[in-house]
């Protein structure tokens, strides 16, 4: 297939924001690159892309996406979610299993995997549920999902916590057999009964039941200790508090094999957004305080938090335009993630472009066990790259996003950085900031 692709010659773009080079994408790989026009014969027929002023990074990898299919095709489908991902600079996404039916069998994960391949805009890797129906009662057939065509390696009950300590221990132990890992949605259920938003000054004023930071931190601490005990791998989903940063930092220091993600919204938005009761700002875990944001940014910069993951969570309007208590938690993220990271991490000097590549591409690919994503920008590597205009500024228009749903918390906000082109194994999925194919 890739041999039929017309080669692409990107001129004068800056890998990792460093010295501008020419890159030749041919036969699905980076065929050549260099400071002046490449001499490779394949460059003759190549489509020329002016990369002046653009930054090149390996294609982004999202370890935490909700594609809603099967079951809620009114909110998102594998196809619409893939479009959003490609436009956001992603070349691979991991789809959470809280679908209907739950992705807790080989059949469902293979269905999602197959749908992703048919759309072909990004590599879609299903995450399998840890427990049957995500009910937290008994293990799903994890090995069957691992051995399926989808080759599932990450398991999560995301949306719910595997709160039973014995079940969590067994899950961590069991996935060692096929080098899997458990991605935990850390939320102590009893401490968060009826919780609506971060417990603090704002929740007291708004009269909403609080979601205390300790409900996340206690589970992360427990799970790190369990992971040590059984010698497994733990990934912490959407870490959101300064206290969680301390817990993970301490665990890593003593050698726990734990990785952690932070979402773009937890890097930018505070619980003050709940004032006004607009459920577009309702998310789980909830938006936290400015001091949490500061701690999360520093932790992402210094590696305590390994990656940025979107927790892209589309919801149909009837599930959002409702009373706050009844609204579904979650927000769109795929098309805004890179811009929010530029805003919060690059502009503040906390991360350079190599850092962005690390937290949004290389490390998530490594955690997810992807061999052909998040690769270095060198000759012979997959031509799976994204071109970014770091100078562009755009205003988020909820209706213009590719998702079927409109629940972006950034509507009307001006954000820096724009994805100009995305290439998946040498084929453009986005070109001139517009979707190609799919």
């Amino acid at each position: 297939m890739s041999t039929e692709l017309r080669p692409v010659l990107i001129r004068g773009a800056a890998p990792y924001g460093e010295d501008p080079l020419d890159l030749l994408l041919a036969d699905g790989v980076i065929a050549d690159m260099g400071p002046s026009t490449v001499t490779d014969a394949r460059a003759v027929d190549a489509e020329i892309v002016d990369g002046t002023g653009l930054v090149v990074l390996p294609g982004l990898v999202d370890l935490h996406t909700h594609l809603r299919e099967p079951g809620r095709e009114d909110a998102e489908t594998v196809e619409t979610g893939s479009r959003a991902a490609a436009l956001g600079g992603y070349t691979a996404v991991f789809a959470m299993p809280n679908t209907d039916p739950t992705a807790d069998t080989a059949g469902v994960v293979e269905q999602v995997y197959r749908l992703g391949r048919e759309v072909g805009l990004v590599d879609v890797h299903p995450i399998g549920a840890v427990t049957v129906g995500r009910k937290g009662e008994r293990l799903a057939e994890l090995a069957a999902m691992a051995n399926s065509a989808a080759r599932v390696r990450i398991f999560s009950d995301d949306g719910d916590c595997v709160s039973d300590p014995l079940l969590m221990r067994r899950a961590l132990e069991y996935v060692k057999a096929f080098d899997g890992l458990i991605a935990q949605h850390a939320q102590e259920p009893r401490l968060t009964e009826g919780a609506q938003m971060h417990e603090g000054i704002v929740s007291a004023r708004l009269g909403m039941t609080g979601w205390p930071a300790v409900a996340e931190e206690a589970i992360i601490a427990r799970d790190c200790l369990l992971t040590d005990h059984v010698g497994s791998r733990l990934h912490v989903c959407h870490l959101s508090t300064a206290g969680s940063v301390d817990v993970v930092a301490a665990a890593k220091k003593r050698g726990t094999t734990v990785t952690a993600e932070v979402t773009p919204h937890h890097l930018l938005l505070t619980d003050e957004r709940a004032v006004g009761y607009d459920p577009v700002f309702k998310v789980n875990p909830p938006l936290r305080t400015a001091s949490d944001i500061g701690a999360l940014r520093r932790a992402l910069a210094d590696g305590v938090i390994d990656i940025v993951a979107t927790d892209h969570a589309p919801h149909a309007s009837q599930d959002k335009e409702t009373e706050w208590d009844n609204a579904s938690p979650g927000m769109l993220g795929l098309q805004t993630a890179l811009s929010v990271v530029i805003e919060t991490m690059v502009r503040s000097g906390l991360l350079d472009w190599r850092g962005v590549a690390r937290v949004m591409s290389e490390t998530p690919a490594r955690i997810g066990g992807l061999r052909d994503q998040g690769r270095p920008l060198t000759v012979g590597e997959p031509a799976t790259v994204v071109l970014i205009d770091p100078q562009a500024v755009w205003t988020v228009d909820a209706d213009a996003l590719a998702s079927l749903s409109c629940n972006t918390p950034y509507a009307g906000m001006q954000l820096p950085g724009r994805v100009v082109a995305t290439y998946l194994r040498g084929r453009a999925t986005v070109s001139a900031a517009v979707l190609v194919g799919g």
Partner: protein, 350 residues
């Protein structure tokens, strides 16, 4: 003093604009209120600055004076206007209070009980809002079990929205009636010590009272077991104590909050008896407050739990009067919101 409450001119109104039948004369007495800014909606007690809050209370006072001793206790002020009581949650007392208030102002009242589990989630809130909008509601009095629902509603309707209690957030007209009652008995509120006791965490009455009473210059002390105080209470304009006895000494007023028995299951306190011993108002504690001090309760009471029957019915208890004042204050709120008053208009009449 007599009163003239002119309805806002409306072309279709006809007879109503002929003037408040039965109320004679005008009395442009009293100081013109300063910087009175009646909000478009009454969603939170914090929507009222001090001058506006005092204006609401003075208006209520004038209404009370205007109708006291009259055989027909009804003013034509809101004739032709439609007030919808939109109650997503049972509350006979508050609904009736608003209904009486609106009817005494001659408004058409529609009771819209949207309670019921068949109402699927809150899409119904938006749909209901559009229905009310289509029917031309001038004011919507909204009670809802979800904090913030009246505020959301206010974005979807043109009419004035009055929060009649939303979840565990606020109940601003309750605070106004409490302030009105306090003012009647204590004169002004400046420097007065008001002790609010009970389930502050879940109480919309407490939230609205803390905001309003502090705006009016009172010193509010919240007394509750630590489990029934919100984590963020430290930022509220109120003092906090766990010790009822010491807080009560010399207080000008004590306001007991209803403690819902279902809180037991949430492990907020061990037993009703222990709660009652530590935070219940009995005769001995009643005697700790100032001699002129009064006892309030928003109702409905758990007699024997947070308050003994002897105290509830005893000297200094203004609990029944609170109910009557509720109607008066709600008349003032409806009047001020619906008559679309401005600073200039206020100087003229009320």
């Amino acid at each position: 003093m007599t009163v003239a409450m002119q309805p806002r001119e409306r072309a279709a109104e006809g007879p109503a604009s002929a003037g408040p039948a039965g109320v004679t004369g005008t009395a442009p007495t009293g100081p013109t209120p300063q910087r009175v800014r009646m909000p478009r909606h009454l969603l939170s007690a914090s929507d009222l600055d001090r001058a506006t809050a005092e204006h609401v209370l003075s208006t209520a006072q004038r209404i009370e004076q205007a109708i006291s001793g009259r055989e027909v206790r009804k003013l034509p002020t809101l004739r032709g206007r439609t007030v919808v009581n939109l109650f997503f949650e049972d509350s006979t007392r508050t609904r009736i209070s608003f209904e009486v208030a609106a009817k005494r102002l001659s408004a058409d009242v529609i009771n819209f009980s949207a309670k019921g589990s068949s109402v699927s989630k809150g899409e119904s809130l938006k749909d209901t809002a559009w229905t009310l909008q289509a029917m031309g509601a001038d004011a919507v009095v909204c009670r809802h079990s979800s904090s913030g629902a009246p505020q959301q509603l206010s974005a979807w309707v043109d009419g004035h929205v009055i929060n009649a209690g939303d979840g565990t957030h606020e109940h601003p007209t309750q605070a106004l009636l409490d302030a009105y009652t306090l003012r009647r008995h204590l004169g002004g509120l400046d420097g007065r010590r008001v002790v609010v006791v009970g389930d502050v965490l879940h109480s919309r009455v407490a939230r609205s009272n803390v905001l309003l009473l502090s705006t009016l210059g009172a010193e509010v002390t919240l007394v509750a077991p630590p489990t029934l105080l919100p984590v963020g209470v430290t930022n509220w304009p109120a003092l906090v104590s766990y010790d009822l006895d010491s807080a009560l000494v010399g207080a000008d007023a004590v306001m007991m909050l209803r403690v819902q028995r279902e809180r037991m299951s949430g492990a907020f306190f061990p037993t009703e008896r222990e709660y009652s011993r530590s935070y219940g108002l009995d005769g001995r504690r009643r005697d700790l407050i100032a001699e002129h001090g009064i006892v309030l309760h928003p109702g409905p009471m758990n007699r024997g739990m947070e308050i003994t029957p002897q105290v509830a019915d005893g000297p200094g208890s203004v609990i029944v009067e609170q109910v009557a004042n509720g109607v008066t204050v709600r008349m003032a709120v409806l009047y001020l919101l619906l008559s679309g008053e401005t600073d200039a208009a206020m100087g003229a009449g009320l």
